[in-house]
Amino acid sequence: MASLRKCWLLSRPFSSASAALHSRGGNISSLSRGISKYSTASAIEEPVSPPVQVNYTQLLINGQFVKAASEKTFPTLDPRTGDVIAHVAEGDAEDVNRAVASARKAFDEGPWPKMAAYERQRILLRFADLIEKHNDELAALETWDNGKPFEQAAKIEVPMLARLMRYYAGWADKIHGLTVPADGPYHVQTLHEPIGVTGQIIPWNFPLLMYGWKIGPALACGNTIVLKTAEQTPLSALLASNLLHEAGLPPGVLNVISGFGPTAGAALASHMDVDKLAFTGSTSTGKIVLQLAARSNLKPVTLELGGKSPFIICEDADVDKAVELAHFALFFNQGQCCCAGSRTFVHERVYDEFVEKSKARALKRAVGDPFKVGTEQGPQIDTEQFEKILGYIRSGVENGATLEAGGGRLGNKGFYIKPTVFSNVKDDMLIAREEIFGPVQSILKYKDLDDVIHRANSTPYGLAAGVFTQNLDTANTLTRALRAGTVWVNCFDTFDAAIPFGGYKMSGHGREKGIYSLSNYLQVKAVVTPLKNPAWL
């Protein structure tokens, strides 16, 4: 379970994202100044000291922070330097067993699933308030552990976590079964029951948001949880979970296990007493998770996996706007988004201008210490990802794509990579087929709609797609033709608590967020009884 990862959540369409940032805190205008100044080549200076302390490093089981049964720990690293931030308790099968037993008890004996939904709602609302109160602390921990720009964490991601909790709080008392028509004199109804103990495995690219996507619907529906964080980013979930307990969550309802995929993750996926599993990460790990579920107790599995999402710029596009959006679609979060627009298809009529401007935009991208105001791009998550991305860049060059910008490491410490742009990319090149999960944009040329539809769909993935056009008919045609779980028309990475997200094909199963996410965490029970002399049927 080496590379768990996930996409970005943004509450506003891209075009108004900076306005949203302004309204949050005001000083993000410095970010735009950062964009306009030459910065890619600036040396990585002495790292800023993170304005936060690490207070929670143990496993959270039954409402208590405890050591691992083995007493083992693992280091979590600062991607700016590769230095150790903290040593974190390393959960393994025995810890997962303890956590599942605690979740089982909390589910079977209550109070959580037996509590009035209104009360569950109130706890989630209090949690949201506490998230807001600890906004900067959570954001700083996220940046330190992950390397993402602090402004992004503090002004968008942590507020979005609070937003998600409020959204799901509102669902708790609106989960409706149906009364159902029958062919004969029967009274039929469906009960939407919580599914039980849920196992959740989350990635490192948006640790807190993925935590929110997972626990929100599970808790609103009355389930209990064992959640495994990514070994790269265990810290923020521990702090957030402590706040959730402060908000009144009963012990055992949410257990958090830090640890590795092959040990803790595998134990959770194959546990006989876990009723449901939700995983976000790579397609290769997703396959293993699904196999473990099949081999153990046939638990249903939700999978949010990889992508190679096309971003299609049509011939009528305003090139400047298209360049900016395509740049954002790929480079956002250091390119570490499963829905990154990693295949930029550009109509031949605007192709040359587009490539020229994309190159210029990438060269202007502000890369540096994520704690510094104005930084657009921090380091990649770890050495493994860093090396993998550099390998893909080499393959792009070797396969004959034109390297327009970037192409290597930035600085000599930490995991920084220069924003990289390839043009003349062909469909059969590795960089056009595989998920790179880094700041590497691949630009491809196309002739007409049928051509681009066919090529965009020629991938084992189907997570997302972007369409850039003002033509209504073109937009409608592409929207229906693209085999992907999300299509953004004239925007990208526009996320919202209510918008469902998930993949076609090998990008996964099921949908997260929105009303659709609730069904992942509910069992449907049909209740049937005969009617004597019914007044109507």
């Binding site: 409020r166 009617l531 019914p534 007044a535």
Partner: protein, 503 residues
């Protein structure tokens, strides 16, 4: 479900005479005098004395309020905010209500004669919880994408309907205010609320809290006044898009006529009832007696879903009657601030006299008066819990809504007879069934023409349960997500598709 004497330890800190802070109309975010300068008196039903003089809104004031609401809808931020933002403001509003619960509960008691302990434990928290329920719904209003039979893309938009007029009654001033206002706010509507002239105090207080919470000016306007003037102006206003009314069937009819005669505005009506409670032989008699008594005496019988007709199967009739009378005699009537008291005064002199005249009518028609039947005390509008037995279908006390602590009791033999008699009414608001038999419960549930059926419980309201009437008890639902749809318009949008890979 049966009401108990409240053992409220805060009894000693009653605010028996809360200062009256808000007595003016609330229009466009400001408290203002009525244009005419007129006021009306609101009375303490414990004593009949004047509590305060309240600005008396009339047509001109309603016009101003509608203008503010129209402006706030057509050009303001409220319908243009994301649902989640409206939800945040509504959550804040709910918090402010809880912070002021003691004072609101006291106002509700002096103005309506309602039990202080119940107001604090139930009515005021319910006002907050309705707001929270619909706050949580504000970002969950889904239209649908439609299945078309040819190359078309079709979808529905659920749009806020516009300016709403709410006309609310005096029996649950806080709950009715919140149950009407909350879904309309969540939907993105703006509104004019007319509270009942008997109980204007809490509605004006809520207006103040709404402003503190951040609800923009003009979104929520409160015009206190009389039905025949202010209420009539709302229902016949050309610029109000929907009227939501709770009150008597008689007034409901006038409102519907006014809507028809003016701009055909959408109307929802929650009107009177004469709800049956049917107790079968297999019932736990003690529990059934508690339920029956609570069903008619709760809130002094001033509740549209009161179980005012109690049908008891013959096998347990005698035993049940005995228990009912015992329990009714032990029922404590008195000052609603006293935590031992279970029943306060009726809301006003008019209701008081109306109820007493129905009691006289019952006696005259030949029903057997088992207990009660008289006013209590020298002052105020207190009435004894009253039970009539051997009530026949054609008697007025079996047909009309009395809206007081007067039970009409009758005996039945078979389930078919019970169903027939229960349905023999022009109303259809609610019904109760007491039985352990699953088949009986299911059969009766489907057979009774009423909007709510309570099986082995009564008054089991909840935010998520839609509530409203069949027949002349009205149409349209309050509570639940159904209520949200009263305040939404459905717009269908269609455009052609070219080269679609699926339909």
């Amino acid at each position: 479900m049966a009401s108990q004497n409240s053992d409220d330890s805060s009894a000693s800190i009653f605010v028996k005479n809360p200062t009256i802070k808000f007595t003016k109309l609330f229009i466009n975010g400001e408290f203002v005098d009525s244009i005419s300068g007129k006021t009306f008196e609101t009375i303490d039903p414990r004593t009949g004395e004047v509590i305060a003089k309240i600005a008396e809104g009339d047509k001109e004031d309603v016009d101003l309020a509608v203008k503010a609401a129209r402006q706030a809808f057509d050009h303001g931020t409220w319908p243009r905010l994301p649902g989640s933002e409206r939800g945040r403001i509504m959550m804040k509003f709910a918090d402010l209500i809880e912070e002021n619960a003691e004072e609101l509960a006291a106002l509700e008691t002096i103005d309506g004669g309602k039990l202080f302990s119940m107001n604090k434990a139930m009515d005021i928290p319910q006002a907050a919880s309705s707001l929270r329920y619909y706050a949580g719904a504000a970002d969950k209003i889904h239209g649908e994408v439609l299945k078309m039979s040819r190359e078309l893309h079709g979808y529905t938009l659920q749009e806020p309907i516009g300016v709403v007029g709410h006309i609310i009654p005096w029996n649950f001033p806080s709950i009715m205010f919140s149950v009407k206002v909350s879904p309309a706010l969540a939907a993105g509507c703006t509104m004019v609320v007319k509270p009942a002239e008997q109980t204007p105090l809490t509605a004006l207080f809520y207006a103040h809290l709404a402003k503190l919470a951040g609800i923009p000016n003009g979104v929520l306007n409160v015009v206190s006044g009389l039905g025949s003037t202010a209420g009539s102006a709302i229902s016949s206003h050309m610029d109000i898009d929907v009227v939501s009314f709770t009150g008597s069937t008689e007034v409901g009819r006038k409102i519907l006529q006014a809507a028809a005669a003016s701009n055909l505005k959408v109307v929802s009506l929650e009107l009177g009832g004469k709800s049956p409670l049917i107790i079968f032989d297999d019932a736990d008699v003690d529990m059934a007696a508690d339920l029956a008594l609570f069903g008619i005496l709760y809130n002094k019988g001033e509740i549209c879903v009161a179980s005012s007709r109690v049908y008891v199967q013959e096998g347990i009739y005698e035993e049940l009657v005995k228990k009912l009378v015992e329990k009714a005699k032990a029922w404590v009537v008195g000052d609603p601030f006293d935590p031992k008291v279970q029943q306060g005064p009726q809301v006003d002199k008019k209701q008081f006299e109306k109820i007493l005249s129905y009691i006289e009518q019952g006696k005259g028609e030949g029903a057997t008066l088992l207990t009660g039947g008289k006013p209590l005390g020298e002052k105020g509008y207190f009435i004894e819990p009253t039970i009539f037995a051997e009530v026949k279908e054609e008697m007025l006390i079996a047909k009309d809504e009395i809206f007081g602590p007067v039970m009409a009791l009758a005996k039945f033999k078979t389930i078919e007879e019970a169903i027939k008699r229960a349905n023999n009414t022009r109303y259809g608001l609610a019904a109760g069934i007491v039985t352990k038999d699953l088949n009986v419960a299911n059969t009766v549930s489907r057979s009774i023409r009423a909007g709510t059926i309570w099986i082995n419980c009564y008054f089991a309201f909840d935010n998520d349960i839609p509530f409203g009437g069949y027949k002349m008890s009205g149409f349209g639902k309050d509570f639940g997500l159904e209520a949200l749809h009263k305040y939404l318009q459905v717009k269908s949008v269609v455009t052609p598709l070219y080269n679609t890979p699926w339909l």
